[in-house]
Symmetry: C2
Subunit: 198 residues, 2 copies
């Protein structure tokens, strides 16, 4: 199979950016060539998380069909939140925790949605199901997204599965969840144009 | 949570009928009250499978909102293939192996699609992931659907996962896969109005 690009929604938040990184890693481990990219510059919270775990910043794209014919969407499914040329691409995978709307495909695909607080909570389950080890750096990025989307477990969308995943990921990343969580959210509040979209 | 009705598409085939039965059993084991129903009378192939495993025939419904407010769709997602009052219902779960089209929800949901030959292949994976034992009768119905949708592994949509699931399910049901498979498909060929839809 030809290489896939993996990306979250436009105006990316921490879950959009890091779920592309974690799901691309998952696909690579499953033998599928995939590169995580982003549909915009990272915000200050995500900048903090990427620097904290010494991760590479994803390449920013505005179109994908000039590079690939197939893509994986994370943390979104609605075409108007996706890459500008989404209609010219085959969506092979979706991993998301939002309602489904303005989305359709010509062919069968892999679609995994669960009503949890964060896309990375679902990706954590994918790693577990496939018995693939999560590297410490990726675990740190994944737990950052769960903290961000659930406001450190205080949002009404937070579920028991989010808390369980965050605790396991914090252990893998050797993090103090409460202390790091407050630091991360504080880094984010500097941002004026913060989106309400999880 | 209030009771869910679980059903496959209109003009039900063996996968539509039996994936409702197997997924309702899975939901019940997960603590979710669910009843498998069908959107039409079963065809001759499905009749053969239900009788062979001494299973109850599902109740046929034409509307659901008079009974419940939420439903689970199996083996389909397109609203025009679903229950007539689908727009008045909350879709809480979908398990399917078709393209996504004419489907949308107001709220986040559980959606599990994979590009495999049969919905019951995916449901087999759900049981495995949750470590829930599959009763022999339900295993027999599930393998019947895989045989039906893949024409005993000869269809172009058949994947290695379908074959693996069918072999494991045949063992649970104490079936000779080849002999039973030919019998099942033969029972189905008596039917004139057989649909091409998997
Ligand atoms: Mn998001
Ligand atoms: Mn999210
Ligand atoms: Mn079908
Ligand atoms: Mn089917």
């Amino acid at each position: 199979m030809e290489k896939l690009l993996v990306f979250g929604h436009q105006n990316p938040d921490t879950d959009a950016v890091t779920s592309a990184i974690s799901f691309a890693h998952y696909l690579n481990q499953m033998g599928v060539e995939a590169e995580a990219v982003a549909l915009g510059e990272v915000n200050e919270e995500t900048d903090f998380a990427l620097r904290h775990f010494e991760a590479d910043f994803p390449r920013v794209i505005t179109t994908a069909s000039n590079e690939v014919s197939a893509v994986a969407l994370v943390d979104h499914n609605e075409f108007q939140q996706s890459v500008s040329d989404i209609s010219n691409l085959e969506v092979k995978y979706v991993v998301d925790h939002h309602r489904i709307s303005n989305f359709e495909t010509a062919n069968p695909l892999y679609y995994r949605a669960e009503p949890v607080g964060c896309t990375n909570t679902i990706i954590y389950k994918l790693f577990k199901e496939a018995e693939i080890a999560i590297p410490s750096q990726i675990a740190g990025l994944m737990v950052s997204a769960i903290i961000s989307d659930t406001l450190l477990f205080k949002s009404p969308t937070c579920t028991g599965e989010d808390i369980k995943a965050a605790q396991a990921l914090a252990e893998l990343a050797e993090l103090d969840l409460e202390a790091y969580g407050l630091e991360l959210l504080k880094a984010g509040t500097a941002l004026e144009n913060k989106s309400n979209e999880a």
